[in-house]
Protein backbone atom coordinates (compact mmCIF):
# COMPACT_ATOMS: atom_id res chain seq x y z
CA UNK A 1 0.00 0.00 0.00
CA UNK A 2 1.58 3.26 -1.10
CA UNK A 3 0.67 5.35 1.93
CA UNK A 4 1.13 8.76 0.34
CA UNK A 5 -1.17 7.81 -2.52
CA UNK A 6 -4.13 7.33 -0.17
CA UNK A 7 -6.85 9.94 0.05
CA UNK A 8 -7.87 11.28 3.46
CA UNK A 9 -11.05 9.21 3.47
CA UNK A 10 -9.06 6.07 2.66
CA UNK A 11 -6.54 6.87 5.41
CA UNK A 12 -9.35 7.22 7.92
CA UNK A 13 -10.53 3.68 7.21
CA UNK A 14 -7.05 2.24 7.57
CA UNK A 15 -6.35 4.20 10.75
CA UNK A 16 -9.64 3.08 12.25
CA UNK A 17 -8.94 -0.54 11.31
CA UNK A 18 -5.45 -0.34 12.74
CA UNK A 19 -3.79 -1.32 9.42
CA UNK A 20 -1.61 1.72 9.62
CA UNK A 21 -0.62 4.21 12.31
CA UNK A 22 -0.45 7.98 12.19
CA UNK A 23 3.28 7.65 12.81
CA UNK A 24 3.68 5.48 9.70
CA UNK A 25 1.66 7.91 7.60
CA UNK A 26 3.63 10.88 8.86
CA UNK A 27 6.87 9.07 8.22
CA UNK A 28 5.87 8.23 4.66
CA UNK A 29 4.95 11.85 3.88
CA UNK A 30 8.12 13.25 5.46
CA UNK A 31 10.20 10.84 3.38
CA UNK A 32 8.39 11.84 0.21
CA UNK A 33 8.83 15.54 1.00
CA UNK A 34 12.56 15.02 1.45
CA UNK A 35 12.77 13.09 -1.80
CA UNK A 36 10.65 15.37 -3.98
CA UNK A 37 10.41 18.86 -2.63
CA UNK A 38 13.91 19.86 -3.72
CA UNK A 39 12.59 20.12 -7.24
CA UNK A 40 9.09 21.43 -6.49
CA UNK A 41 9.78 23.88 -3.66
CA UNK A 42 6.27 23.64 -2.21
CA UNK A 43 7.50 23.84 1.40
CA UNK A 44 9.05 26.87 3.07
CA UNK A 45 9.46 24.97 6.32
CA UNK A 46 9.16 21.28 7.20
CA UNK A 47 8.14 20.82 10.84
CA UNK A 48 9.44 17.30 11.29
CA UNK A 49 9.65 17.11 15.09
CA UNK A 50 6.27 18.69 15.67
CA UNK A 51 4.75 16.38 13.05
CA UNK A 52 6.10 13.26 14.75
CA UNK A 53 4.89 14.49 18.17
CA UNK A 54 1.46 15.20 16.73
CA UNK A 55 1.38 11.74 15.14
CA UNK A 56 2.16 10.19 18.55
CA UNK A 57 -0.73 12.08 20.13
CA UNK A 58 -2.97 11.02 17.27
CA UNK A 59 -2.02 7.36 17.64
CA UNK A 60 -2.76 7.50 21.38
CA UNK A 61 -6.13 9.00 20.65
CA UNK A 62 -6.86 6.39 17.95
CA UNK A 63 -5.99 3.58 20.38
CA UNK A 64 -8.35 5.10 22.94
CA UNK A 65 -11.13 5.08 20.37
CA UNK A 66 -11.52 8.85 20.55
CA UNK A 67 -10.52 9.77 17.01
CA UNK A 68 -12.02 12.78 15.23
CA UNK A 69 -12.42 12.77 11.42
CA UNK A 70 -8.95 14.24 10.81
CA UNK A 71 -7.02 12.62 13.68
CA UNK A 72 -3.63 11.49 12.42
CA UNK A 73 -4.09 12.90 8.91
CA UNK A 74 -0.89 14.57 7.57
CA UNK A 75 -1.72 18.07 6.34
CA UNK A 76 0.21 21.24 5.54
CA UNK A 77 -0.60 24.94 5.79
CA UNK A 78 0.03 27.89 3.50
CA UNK A 79 2.54 30.13 5.28
CA UNK A 80 -0.15 32.80 5.64
CA UNK A 81 -1.67 30.94 8.59
CA UNK A 82 -0.29 32.05 11.91
CA UNK A 83 1.01 28.98 13.79
CA UNK A 84 2.06 29.19 17.41
CA UNK A 85 5.77 28.67 17.89
CA UNK A 86 6.37 28.04 14.19
CA UNK A 87 7.93 30.76 12.06
CA UNK A 88 5.35 32.30 9.72
CA UNK A 89 6.62 34.45 6.87
CA UNK A 90 3.87 34.92 4.27
CA UNK A 91 6.79 34.20 1.89
CA UNK A 92 8.10 37.70 2.61
CA UNK A 93 11.51 38.91 3.78
CA UNK A 94 9.77 41.40 6.04
CA UNK A 95 8.47 38.59 8.26
CA UNK A 96 11.60 36.47 8.38
CA UNK A 97 12.06 35.37 11.97
CA UNK A 98 8.47 36.12 12.96
CA UNK A 99 7.27 33.44 15.37
CA UNK A 100 3.56 33.87 16.14
CA UNK A 101 2.43 33.57 19.76
CA UNK A 102 -0.89 32.01 18.80
CA UNK A 103 -2.68 29.71 16.36
CA UNK A 104 -5.33 31.04 14.02
CA UNK A 105 -8.81 29.57 14.31
CA UNK A 106 -8.72 27.27 11.26
CA UNK A 107 -5.37 25.93 12.46
CA UNK A 108 -6.66 25.49 16.02
CA UNK A 109 -9.71 23.57 14.82
CA UNK A 110 -7.50 21.12 12.92
CA UNK A 111 -5.12 20.83 15.87
CA UNK A 112 -8.05 20.08 18.18
CA UNK A 113 -8.73 17.03 16.03
CA UNK A 114 -5.05 16.04 16.34
CA UNK A 115 -4.36 16.37 12.65
CA UNK A 116 -0.64 16.31 11.84
CA UNK A 117 1.02 19.41 10.33
CA UNK A 118 3.97 18.56 8.08
CA UNK A 119 5.07 22.12 7.47
CA UNK A 120 4.39 25.61 6.09
CA UNK A 121 3.80 26.00 2.42
CA UNK A 122 5.24 28.37 -0.16
CA UNK A 123 3.03 31.07 -1.66
CA UNK A 124 3.13 34.36 -3.50
CA UNK A 125 4.31 37.02 -1.06
CA UNK A 126 1.39 38.28 1.05
CA UNK A 127 -0.90 36.26 -1.23
CA UNK A 128 -0.29 38.68 -4.11
CA UNK A 129 0.20 36.74 -7.28
CA UNK A 130 -1.14 34.15 -9.69
CA UNK A 131 1.95 32.05 -10.29
CA UNK A 132 3.84 31.60 -6.99
CA UNK A 133 6.80 33.37 -8.61
CA UNK A 134 6.58 36.27 -6.15
CA UNK A 135 8.00 34.41 -3.17
CA UNK A 136 11.08 35.37 -1.17
CA UNK A 137 11.74 31.60 -1.09
CA UNK A 138 11.75 31.00 -4.84
CA UNK A 139 8.97 29.82 -7.16
CA UNK A 140 6.94 26.65 -6.79
CA UNK A 141 7.27 24.32 -9.77
CA UNK A 142 4.25 22.59 -11.21
CA UNK A 143 4.50 18.88 -10.36
CA UNK A 144 3.21 18.03 -13.85
CA UNK A 145 5.95 20.09 -15.57
CA UNK A 146 8.79 21.73 -13.60
CA UNK A 147 9.19 24.44 -16.26
CA UNK A 148 5.70 25.67 -15.52
CA UNK A 149 4.15 27.60 -12.68
CA UNK A 150 2.09 25.89 -10.03
CA UNK A 151 -0.28 28.85 -10.02
CA UNK A 152 -0.83 31.21 -7.13
CA UNK A 153 -0.97 32.49 -4.65
CA UNK A 154 -1.53 29.08 -2.92
CA UNK A 155 0.98 27.39 -5.25
CA UNK A 156 2.66 25.40 -2.49
CA UNK A 157 -0.71 24.20 -1.17
CA UNK A 158 -1.75 22.89 -4.59
CA UNK A 159 1.62 21.41 -5.56
CA UNK A 160 2.00 19.59 -2.23
CA UNK A 161 -1.32 17.82 -2.70
CA UNK A 162 -0.68 17.06 -6.38
CA UNK A 163 2.74 15.55 -5.62
CA UNK A 164 1.40 13.56 -2.65
CA UNK A 165 3.53 15.48 -0.19
CA UNK A 166 0.49 16.15 2.01
CA UNK A 167 -2.93 14.48 2.21
CA UNK A 168 -4.61 17.85 2.17
CA UNK A 169 -3.70 21.48 2.65
CA UNK A 170 -5.21 24.83 3.56
CA UNK A 171 -4.87 27.82 1.29
CA UNK A 172 -6.47 31.23 0.97
CA UNK A 173 -8.35 32.75 -1.94
CA UNK A 174 -8.76 36.48 -2.54
CA UNK A 175 -9.03 36.59 -6.34
CA UNK A 176 -8.66 32.91 -7.20
CA UNK A 177 -5.66 31.88 -5.15
CA UNK A 178 -7.03 28.47 -4.19
CA UNK A 179 -8.97 27.66 -7.35
CA UNK A 180 -6.40 28.66 -9.95
CA UNK A 181 -3.43 26.72 -8.53
CA UNK A 182 -5.78 23.78 -7.87
CA UNK A 183 -6.71 23.88 -11.56
CA UNK A 184 -3.08 24.16 -12.73
CA UNK A 185 -1.96 21.30 -10.47
CA UNK A 186 -4.91 18.97 -11.06
CA UNK A 187 -6.36 18.93 -7.54
CA UNK A 188 -9.63 20.01 -5.96
CA UNK A 189 -9.72 23.45 -4.34
CA UNK A 190 -12.63 25.18 -2.64
CA UNK A 191 -13.21 28.83 -1.80
CA UNK A 192 -16.05 28.96 0.73
CA UNK A 193 -18.53 31.83 0.91
CA UNK A 194 -17.04 34.90 2.54
CA UNK A 195 -17.68 34.60 6.27
CA UNK A 196 -17.98 30.80 6.26
CA UNK A 197 -14.50 30.16 7.64
CA UNK A 198 -12.82 32.38 10.22
CA UNK A 199 -10.05 34.70 9.07
CA UNK A 200 -8.68 35.04 12.60
CA UNK A 201 -5.00 34.22 12.42
CA UNK A 202 -4.79 34.62 8.65
CA UNK A 203 -2.41 37.38 7.63
CA UNK A 204 -4.66 39.83 5.82
CA UNK A 205 -4.30 40.83 2.18
CA UNK A 206 -7.74 42.22 1.24
CA UNK A 207 -10.11 41.94 4.16
CA UNK A 208 -13.38 42.00 2.24
CA UNK A 209 -12.20 39.34 -0.22
CA UNK A 210 -9.90 36.90 1.64
CA UNK A 211 -11.24 33.43 2.45
CA UNK A 212 -9.69 30.28 3.84
CA UNK A 213 -10.27 27.00 2.04
CA UNK A 214 -9.10 23.41 1.55
CA UNK A 215 -7.14 21.79 -1.27
CA UNK A 216 -7.22 18.02 -1.59
CA UNK A 217 -7.04 15.12 -4.03
CA UNK A 218 -10.77 14.58 -4.30
CA UNK A 219 -14.11 16.11 -3.46
CA UNK A 220 -14.80 13.95 -0.41
CA UNK A 221 -11.48 14.99 1.13
CA UNK A 222 -12.33 18.64 0.47
CA UNK A 223 -15.67 18.17 2.19
CA UNK A 224 -13.97 16.61 5.22
CA UNK A 225 -11.52 19.49 5.51
CA UNK A 226 -14.22 22.14 5.09
CA UNK A 227 -16.31 20.44 7.75
CA UNK A 228 -13.47 20.79 10.24
CA UNK A 229 -12.83 24.48 9.74
CA UNK A 230 -16.20 26.02 8.81
CA UNK A 231 -18.37 27.83 11.32
CA UNK A 232 -18.84 31.00 13.30
CA UNK A 233 -15.90 32.42 15.23
CA UNK A 234 -16.45 35.24 17.70
CA UNK A 235 -12.89 36.41 17.09
CA UNK A 236 -13.61 37.25 13.44
CA UNK A 237 -16.09 40.10 13.19
CA UNK A 238 -16.78 39.11 9.56
CA UNK A 239 -17.59 35.53 10.50
CA UNK A 240 -21.21 34.64 9.76
CA UNK A 241 -23.28 32.84 12.38
CA UNK A 242 -25.11 30.36 10.15
CA UNK A 243 -25.37 26.62 10.73
CA UNK A 244 -22.76 24.44 9.05
CA UNK A 245 -24.23 21.69 6.85
CA UNK A 246 -22.89 18.14 6.98
CA UNK A 247 -20.88 18.35 3.78
CA UNK A 248 -19.66 14.74 3.58
CA UNK A 249 -23.18 13.38 4.23
CA UNK A 250 -24.82 15.00 1.20
CA UNK A 251 -22.10 14.36 -1.40
CA UNK A 252 -23.97 11.51 -3.09
CA UNK A 253 -27.26 13.35 -3.53
CA UNK A 254 -26.63 13.67 -7.26
CA UNK A 255 -27.49 16.33 -9.82
CA UNK A 256 -30.87 15.21 -11.19
CA UNK A 257 -32.83 18.32 -12.19
CA UNK A 258 -30.01 20.55 -11.02
CA UNK A 259 -29.94 23.71 -13.15
CA UNK A 260 -26.40 24.46 -14.30
CA UNK A 261 -25.73 27.86 -15.82
CA UNK A 262 -23.26 28.41 -18.67
CA UNK A 263 -22.40 32.13 -18.70
CA UNK A 264 -21.62 33.31 -22.22
CA UNK A 265 -19.13 35.93 -21.05
CA UNK A 266 -16.76 33.21 -19.81
CA UNK A 267 -16.48 31.49 -23.17
CA UNK A 268 -14.47 34.24 -24.84
CA UNK A 269 -12.34 34.01 -27.97
CA UNK A 270 -9.12 34.18 -25.91
CA UNK A 271 -10.00 30.90 -24.18
CA UNK A 272 -7.51 28.10 -24.88
CA UNK A 273 -9.04 25.51 -27.20
CA UNK A 274 -8.23 22.57 -24.90
CA UNK A 275 -9.79 24.39 -21.94
CA UNK A 276 -12.95 25.18 -23.91
CA UNK A 277 -13.20 21.57 -25.07
CA UNK A 278 -12.79 20.21 -21.53
CA UNK A 279 -15.42 22.56 -20.10
CA UNK A 280 -17.90 21.82 -22.86
CA UNK A 281 -17.30 18.09 -22.38
CA UNK A 282 -18.00 18.52 -18.68
CA UNK A 283 -21.32 20.18 -19.48
CA UNK A 284 -22.19 17.16 -21.60
CA UNK A 285 -21.39 14.84 -18.69
CA UNK A 286 -23.74 16.81 -16.47
CA UNK A 287 -26.47 16.79 -19.08
CA UNK A 288 -26.05 13.02 -19.22
CA UNK A 289 -26.47 12.82 -15.44
CA UNK A 290 -29.83 14.57 -15.61
CA UNK A 291 -28.83 18.18 -14.98
CA UNK A 292 -30.41 20.96 -16.99
CA UNK A 293 -27.92 23.22 -18.76
CA UNK A 294 -29.10 26.83 -18.98
CA UNK A 295 -27.48 29.64 -20.97
CA UNK A 296 -27.08 32.66 -18.72
CA UNK A 297 -25.38 36.02 -18.76
CA UNK A 298 -23.15 37.69 -16.20
CA UNK A 299 -23.00 41.01 -18.04
CA UNK A 300 -20.41 42.82 -15.90
CA UNK A 301 -17.77 40.06 -16.08
CA UNK A 302 -15.45 42.15 -18.20
CA UNK A 303 -15.15 44.80 -15.46
CA UNK A 304 -14.23 42.42 -12.66
CA UNK A 305 -10.45 42.53 -13.02
CA UNK A 306 -10.39 46.35 -13.04
CA UNK A 307 -12.73 46.43 -10.06
CA UNK A 308 -10.67 43.90 -8.13
CA UNK A 309 -7.30 45.56 -8.72
CA UNK A 310 -8.63 48.76 -7.18
CA UNK A 311 -10.44 47.24 -4.20
CA UNK A 312 -7.89 44.55 -3.34
CA UNK A 313 -4.91 46.86 -3.68
CA UNK A 314 -6.64 49.57 -1.64
CA UNK A 315 -7.40 47.12 1.16
CA UNK A 316 -3.88 45.69 0.92
CA UNK A 317 -2.29 49.12 1.25
CA UNK A 318 -4.15 49.53 4.51
CA UNK A 319 -3.47 46.00 5.80
CA UNK A 320 0.23 46.09 4.99
CA UNK A 321 0.72 49.40 6.79
CA UNK A 322 1.32 47.32 9.91
CA UNK A 323 4.67 46.10 8.58
CA UNK A 324 6.85 48.97 9.67
CA UNK A 325 9.52 47.34 11.81
CA UNK A 326 8.06 48.42 15.14
CA UNK A 327 6.41 45.40 16.71
CA UNK A 328 7.44 42.34 14.68
CA UNK A 329 9.36 41.25 11.61
CA UNK A 330 12.46 42.83 10.18
CA UNK A 331 13.57 46.36 11.02
CA UNK A 332 16.01 48.52 9.07
CA UNK A 333 17.16 51.37 11.27
CA UNK A 334 20.05 53.45 9.95
CA UNK A 335 19.82 55.94 12.80
CA UNK A 336 18.13 58.64 10.75
CA UNK A 337 14.80 58.73 12.49
CA UNK A 338 11.43 57.04 12.63
CA UNK A 339 10.10 57.89 9.17
CA UNK A 340 13.26 56.66 7.52
CA UNK A 341 13.01 53.46 9.58
CA UNK A 342 9.52 52.89 8.18
CA UNK A 343 10.58 53.69 4.61
CA UNK A 344 13.73 51.58 4.62
CA UNK A 345 12.20 48.64 6.48
CA UNK A 346 9.40 48.43 3.97
CA UNK A 347 11.62 49.11 0.96
CA UNK A 348 13.94 46.27 1.89
CA UNK A 349 11.36 43.89 3.24
CA UNK A 350 8.73 43.90 0.50
CA UNK A 351 9.09 42.34 -2.93
CA UNK A 352 8.31 44.14 -6.19
CA UNK A 353 4.73 42.91 -6.65
CA UNK A 354 3.79 43.78 -3.09
CA UNK A 355 5.21 47.28 -3.53
CA UNK A 356 3.35 47.66 -6.81
CA UNK A 357 0.01 46.78 -5.17
CA UNK A 358 0.63 48.97 -2.15
CA UNK A 359 1.36 51.86 -4.50
CA UNK A 360 -1.76 51.26 -6.60
CA UNK A 361 -3.93 50.93 -3.52
CA UNK A 362 -2.50 53.97 -1.81
CA UNK A 363 -3.11 55.98 -4.96
CA UNK A 364 -6.70 54.75 -5.30
CA UNK A 365 -7.46 55.82 -1.74
CA UNK A 366 -5.60 59.11 -1.80
CA UNK A 367 -7.25 62.48 -1.55
CA UNK A 368 -8.53 63.63 -4.92
CA UNK A 369 -8.65 60.14 -6.40
CA UNK A 370 -10.73 58.17 -3.91
CA UNK A 371 -14.07 58.89 -5.61
CA UNK A 372 -12.89 58.24 -9.13
CA UNK A 373 -11.15 54.97 -8.33
CA UNK A 374 -11.96 53.23 -5.05
CA UNK A 375 -15.55 54.40 -4.65
CA UNK A 376 -16.26 53.76 -8.33
CA UNK A 377 -14.89 50.24 -7.96
CA UNK A 378 -17.13 49.60 -4.96
CA UNK A 379 -20.16 50.58 -7.01
CA UNK A 380 -19.12 48.29 -9.85
CA UNK A 381 -18.72 45.58 -7.23
CA UNK A 382 -22.42 45.96 -6.45
CA UNK A 383 -23.25 45.46 -10.13
CA UNK A 384 -21.13 42.30 -10.27
CA UNK A 385 -22.80 40.93 -7.12
CA UNK A 386 -26.20 41.66 -8.60
CA UNK A 387 -25.26 39.72 -11.75
CA UNK A 388 -24.80 36.62 -9.59
CA UNK A 389 -27.94 37.22 -7.52
CA UNK A 390 -29.95 37.46 -10.72
CA UNK A 391 -28.30 34.37 -12.24
CA UNK A 392 -29.00 32.30 -9.13
CA UNK A 393 -32.65 33.11 -9.65
CA UNK A 394 -32.46 30.96 -12.80
CA UNK A 395 -29.84 28.31 -11.93
CA UNK A 396 -28.44 26.46 -8.92
CA UNK A 397 -24.80 26.24 -9.98
CA UNK A 398 -22.71 28.11 -12.55
CA UNK A 399 -20.05 26.18 -14.52
CA UNK A 400 -17.08 28.00 -16.01
CA UNK A 401 -13.40 27.53 -16.80
CA UNK A 402 -11.04 28.39 -13.93
CA UNK A 403 -8.26 29.91 -16.01
CA UNK A 404 -8.08 30.97 -19.67
CA UNK A 405 -5.11 28.65 -20.28
CA UNK A 406 -3.40 25.72 -18.56
CA UNK A 407 -0.32 26.50 -16.44
CA UNK A 408 1.96 28.95 -18.22
CA UNK A 409 5.77 28.80 -18.21
CA UNK A 410 7.91 30.16 -15.41
CA UNK A 411 8.93 33.71 -16.29
CA UNK A 412 6.33 34.02 -19.05
CA UNK A 413 4.17 36.69 -17.42
CA UNK A 414 6.34 37.97 -14.58
CA UNK A 415 7.46 41.08 -16.47
CA UNK A 416 3.96 42.01 -17.50
CA UNK A 417 1.84 42.65 -14.40
CA UNK A 418 -1.30 43.52 -16.34
CA UNK A 419 -1.09 40.30 -18.38
CA UNK A 420 -0.74 38.37 -15.13
CA UNK A 421 -3.75 40.17 -13.62
CA UNK A 422 -5.91 39.39 -16.66
CA UNK A 423 -5.40 35.66 -16.16
CA UNK A 424 -7.60 35.89 -13.05
CA UNK A 425 -10.63 36.92 -15.09
CA UNK A 426 -12.76 33.86 -14.26
CA UNK A 427 -12.05 33.57 -10.56
CA UNK A 428 -12.12 37.20 -9.43
CA UNK A 429 -15.88 37.81 -9.87
CA UNK A 430 -16.66 35.16 -7.24
CA UNK A 431 -14.59 36.97 -4.59
CA UNK A 432 -16.21 40.30 -5.47
CA UNK A 433 -19.64 38.70 -5.11
CA UNK A 434 -18.55 36.99 -1.88
CA UNK A 435 -19.98 33.63 -2.85
CA UNK A 436 -18.53 30.10 -2.97
CA UNK A 437 -16.81 28.20 -5.76
CA UNK A 438 -14.62 25.20 -6.29
CA UNK A 439 -12.14 24.04 -8.90
CA UNK A 440 -12.31 20.40 -9.99
CA UNK A 441 -9.99 18.61 -12.43
CA UNK A 442 -11.90 17.89 -15.64
CA UNK A 443 -9.31 17.07 -18.25
CA UNK A 444 -5.87 17.64 -19.65
CA UNK A 445 -4.40 19.81 -22.37
CA UNK A 446 -2.78 18.28 -25.44
CA UNK A 447 0.53 18.82 -23.64
CA UNK A 448 -0.61 16.84 -20.58
CA UNK A 449 -1.31 19.77 -18.27
CA UNK A 450 -4.30 19.67 -15.91
CA UNK A 451 -7.45 21.67 -16.67
CA UNK A 452 -9.93 22.55 -13.95
CA UNK A 453 -13.57 23.56 -14.12
CA UNK A 454 -15.14 26.01 -11.75
CA UNK A 455 -18.46 25.36 -10.04
CA UNK A 456 -19.92 28.51 -8.50
CA UNK A 457 -22.68 28.28 -5.92
CA UNK A 458 -25.04 30.62 -4.12
CA UNK A 459 -23.77 32.11 -0.86
CA UNK A 460 -23.54 29.38 1.80
CA UNK A 461 -24.46 26.65 -0.69
CA UNK A 462 -21.14 24.78 -0.40
CA UNK A 463 -23.19 21.61 -0.03
CA UNK A 464 -24.58 22.11 -3.54
CA UNK A 465 -21.28 22.67 -5.32
CA UNK A 466 -19.66 19.80 -3.44
CA UNK A 467 -22.29 17.30 -4.49
CA UNK A 468 -22.25 18.66 -8.04
CA UNK A 469 -18.49 18.13 -8.13
CA UNK A 470 -18.80 14.69 -6.57
CA UNK A 471 -21.23 13.58 -9.23
CA UNK A 472 -18.79 14.51 -12.00
CA UNK A 473 -15.90 12.81 -10.22
CA UNK A 474 -17.90 9.62 -9.77
CA UNK A 475 -19.07 9.64 -13.40
CA UNK A 476 -15.58 10.16 -14.84
CA UNK A 477 -13.64 7.97 -12.44
CA UNK A 478 -12.53 5.59 -15.11
CA UNK A 479 -11.10 8.26 -17.41
CA UNK A 480 -7.41 7.89 -18.34
CA UNK A 481 -5.03 10.19 -16.44
CA UNK A 482 -1.27 10.62 -16.82
CA UNK A 483 0.64 9.31 -13.80
CA UNK A 484 1.93 11.70 -11.18
CA UNK A 485 5.70 12.02 -10.80
CA UNK A 486 7.05 9.07 -8.85
CA UNK A 487 8.98 9.37 -5.61
CA UNK A 488 12.38 8.86 -7.18
CA UNK A 489 15.14 11.17 -5.93
CA UNK A 490 16.01 14.05 -8.23
CA UNK A 491 18.86 13.21 -10.61
CA UNK A 492 21.65 15.74 -9.94
Amino acid sequence: MELTALTIHEMRKHLAAGDVSAAELTDAFLRRIHELDGRINAFIRITENQAREAAERADRRLREGKAAPLTGIPLALKDIFVTEGIETTCASNILKGFVPPYDGTAVARLREQDAVFLGKLNMDEFAMGSSNENSAFGPVKNPWDPNRVAGGSSGGSAAAVAAHMAAGTLGTDTGGSIRQPASHCGVVGLKPTYGRVSRYGVIAYASSLDQVGPLARDVEDCALLLQAIAGFDARDATSVDLPVADYPATLKNGVKSLRIGRPKEYFITGLDADVAAAINAALEVYAGLGAEIVDISLPHTDYAVACYYLIATAEASSNLARFEGVRFGQRVDRGDGLLEMYRNTRAQGFGAEVKRRIMLGTFALSSGYYDAYYLKAQKVRTLIREDFTAAFGQVDVILTPVAPTPAFSLGEKIDNPLQMYLSDIFTIPVNLAGTCALSLPCGFSAGGLPIGMQLIGKPFAEETILRTAYAFEAATATAERPPLPSAEPAVP
Binding site: P101, D333, A347, K376, A377, P459
Partner: protein, 95 residues
Protein backbone atom coordinates in the same frame (compact mmCIF):
# COMPACT_ATOMS: atom_id res chain seq x y z
CA UNK B 1 -5.02 60.37 -15.47
CA UNK B 2 -1.36 60.31 -16.44
CA UNK B 3 1.02 58.99 -13.79
CA UNK B 4 4.22 60.99 -13.48
CA UNK B 5 7.33 60.43 -11.37
CA UNK B 6 5.99 63.21 -9.13
CA UNK B 7 2.82 61.20 -8.52
CA UNK B 8 4.92 58.14 -7.71
CA UNK B 9 7.04 60.07 -5.22
CA UNK B 10 3.95 61.47 -3.53
CA UNK B 11 2.27 58.06 -3.27
CA UNK B 12 5.49 56.44 -2.04
CA UNK B 13 5.64 59.04 0.68
CA UNK B 14 2.07 58.26 1.74
CA UNK B 15 2.89 54.55 1.71
CA UNK B 16 6.10 55.04 3.68
CA UNK B 17 8.15 53.32 0.98
CA UNK B 18 11.53 54.53 -0.15
CA UNK B 19 12.07 53.78 -3.82
CA UNK B 20 15.23 53.54 -5.90
CA UNK B 21 15.49 55.44 -9.19
CA UNK B 22 14.86 52.30 -11.27
CA UNK B 23 11.84 51.51 -9.16
CA UNK B 24 10.41 54.98 -9.73
CA UNK B 25 10.84 54.61 -13.49
CA UNK B 26 9.25 51.15 -13.56
CA UNK B 27 6.42 52.02 -11.21
CA UNK B 28 5.60 55.16 -13.19
CA UNK B 29 5.02 53.17 -16.36
CA UNK B 30 3.39 50.20 -14.62
CA UNK B 31 0.96 52.31 -12.61
CA UNK B 32 0.18 54.33 -15.71
CA UNK B 33 -0.61 51.17 -17.66
CA UNK B 34 -2.71 49.59 -14.93
CA UNK B 35 -4.63 52.75 -14.11
CA UNK B 36 -5.30 53.28 -17.82
CA UNK B 37 -6.78 49.78 -17.86
CA UNK B 38 -9.04 50.39 -14.85
CA UNK B 39 -10.43 53.50 -16.59
CA UNK B 40 -12.80 51.07 -18.29
CA UNK B 41 -14.93 51.20 -15.15
CA UNK B 42 -16.01 54.62 -16.37
CA UNK B 43 -17.87 52.93 -19.21
CA UNK B 44 -20.43 51.93 -16.58
CA UNK B 45 -23.11 54.27 -15.31
CA UNK B 46 -23.09 53.81 -11.54
CA UNK B 47 -25.30 56.76 -10.62
CA UNK B 48 -27.50 55.79 -7.69
CA UNK B 49 -25.69 52.48 -7.08
CA UNK B 50 -24.87 51.76 -3.43
CA UNK B 51 -21.20 50.88 -3.07
CA UNK B 52 -20.38 47.42 -1.68
CA UNK B 53 -17.93 47.80 1.15
CA UNK B 54 -18.56 44.36 2.49
CA UNK B 55 -19.33 41.02 0.91
CA UNK B 56 -21.85 39.84 3.51
CA UNK B 57 -24.78 41.85 4.89
CA UNK B 58 -23.45 42.00 8.45
CA UNK B 59 -23.95 45.01 10.67
CA UNK B 60 -22.67 45.93 14.10
CA UNK B 61 -20.85 42.69 14.85
CA UNK B 62 -20.44 43.55 18.53
CA UNK B 63 -19.58 41.47 21.52
CA UNK B 64 -20.45 42.13 25.15
CA UNK B 65 -18.13 44.67 26.73
CA UNK B 66 -16.53 42.23 29.13
CA UNK B 67 -12.82 42.10 29.89
CA UNK B 68 -11.19 38.76 29.15
CA UNK B 69 -7.57 37.54 29.18
CA UNK B 70 -5.49 38.76 26.27
CA UNK B 71 -2.06 37.93 24.89
CA UNK B 72 -0.02 39.56 27.65
CA UNK B 73 2.94 41.89 27.35
CA UNK B 74 5.59 39.19 27.33
CA UNK B 75 4.14 37.35 24.33
CA UNK B 76 3.34 40.62 22.61
CA UNK B 77 6.97 41.73 22.89
CA UNK B 78 8.37 38.37 21.85
CA UNK B 79 8.92 39.38 18.21
CA UNK B 80 9.93 42.96 18.87
CA UNK B 81 13.03 44.02 16.92
CA UNK B 82 13.87 46.17 19.94
CA UNK B 83 12.22 46.48 23.31
CA UNK B 84 12.93 47.90 26.75
CA UNK B 85 11.06 48.18 30.02
CA UNK B 86 8.10 46.24 28.70
CA UNK B 87 7.68 48.51 25.67
CA UNK B 88 8.55 48.47 21.98
CA UNK B 89 11.58 50.70 21.48
CA UNK B 90 11.73 52.85 18.35
CA UNK B 91 13.68 55.89 17.11
CA UNK B 92 12.59 59.15 18.70
CA UNK B 93 9.05 60.02 17.68
CA UNK B 94 8.87 63.58 19.00
CA UNK B 95 11.75 65.92 18.40
Amino acid sequence: MKITPETVHHVADLARLSLGEDEVVNLTSEMDLILAYVEKLNQLDTAGITPTAHAVPLENAFRDDLASPSLGAEKALHNAPDSAEGCFRVPKVIE
